[in-house]
Symmetry: C2
């Protein structure tokens, strides 16, 4: 009596959504850069202008835990035409996630450095709590997957049992990253709209930040839909 | 070569997660009530104290679009022992979602009424944008499901094809509601921590709001895990 939608951890399916996801990934990267460079003054890890240190945080988090993570999740499908070896695509999947995780790590370092130098307290907001949980789960998930599927690698049966859990829990961690990016955009814009800056609520920068957040959200939805493969042919009706 | 995790729209599976979800649903309801009644002064739809009108918004949104929506999603499984008729459980599923949607509608009315009476602009924040999109998608999804599965009802084949999409897209709308609740808790707490109230960043109320948000988030994860049924026995390994 089960009616099923399927989350696939393997090849094939969702071709249209993969293209949509790539376009949204490029758009999200461009938009967060325009915001932080054009509207907020640029990026730096060392500067007398502490805001520039903060600015590296949203750029690296979006690039690492959302854009590269999305490309890593989709890499089995994206590369199926140009990279015929499944083993090579597995290394791309693993490598993109590792680079994404590293960029996310630097992005979190940047915001702690900004807080320290601008005398702002740490870890009081929901965004920071969920952020620490998300990057910790991301790192743990990567490590367990590396040990299970890459080196030293578990037995064939264990790998077979682990794959759907890997796909489902990996998507959940990715959804947390996408959701927490929403929290970050909202939190920063709320600060900018409060005194002393009092940024216009309907101005160009406010609209850019909200639309960047929406593009990140739609990217998350596209990745889930590209990964889900609805197949109802075998099941009974409701 | 597909490795699959399955989202089930039907009966059975995830028993432990269903119990966890019920407990988290009760906790989320109690916590948002303690926050809005004990810390924020109570609930009202008419009052000289406009904050009381606002307070009905988080309570009704959490109760409607998160707690009742979660119970509606899980109702096929929760009630499988005490309600033997599948048709009766379908009516409970439909009815709980209808009540959840109605409470959500009153919750959105409350926040617009608060804005009007307290002279606060509407629809500038990411929370409000995603909120309007979410309740619109929720209503559309409910209506399409009513027409397809209940009255007048589509053909057997159409219903069979529609069920996995109904389950997947329904879970996506639920995830949007859970994520947007996070945005709402963060936005309101950020306002309360700014001048003039300057609520303590690590005080009892701040911790309660953040933990309420986390309980809502964990409820969302529990519903997804209770609905997903990982079955890898038929599939090849990575």
């Amino acid at each position: 009596m089960a009616m099923k939608a399927v989350i696939k951890g393997g090849d094939g399916g969702g071709g249209c959504m993969v293209v949509v996801a790539h376009v949204l990934a490029v758009a999200a990267t461009a938009m967060v850069l325009v915001w932080c460079v054009h509207f907020r003054g640029g990026l730096a890890l060392r500067s007398h202008n502490k805001q520039l240190i903060f600015n590296t945080h949203p750029v690296l988090m979006v690039l690492g835990l959302v854009v590269l993570a999305a490309e890593a999740i989709l890499s089995y499908r994206s590369l199926s035409i140009i990279v015929s070896s499944r083993d090579a695509r597995k290394k791309v999947h693993l490598g993109l996630h590792a680079v994404g995780l590293a960029l996310g790590g630097v992005g979190i370092y940047a915001v702690f450095k900004y807080h320290a130098e601008a005398d702002i307290p740490n870890l009081y907001s929901l965004h920071s709590w969920i952020g620490i949980a998300t990057i910790s789960l991301y790192a743990l998930h990567w490590l367990l997957a590396f040990l299970t599927f890459f080196f030293p690698g578990a037995s064939h049966d264990t790998r077979r049992s682990a794959v759907p859990w890997h796909a489902l829990l990996g998507l959940l961690v990715f959804a947390l990253a996408v959701g927490n990016a929403q929290l970050g955009f909202l939190e920063k814009l709320t600060f900018l709209q409060a005194p002393p800056l009092r940024l216009s609520r309907y101005g160009a920068e406010a609209l850019l930040v909200n639309f960047t957040a929406l593009v990140v959200l739609l990217l998350g939805v596209a990745v889930v839909l590209a990964t889900a493969n609805v197949d109802s042919t075998k099941y009974t009706a409701m």
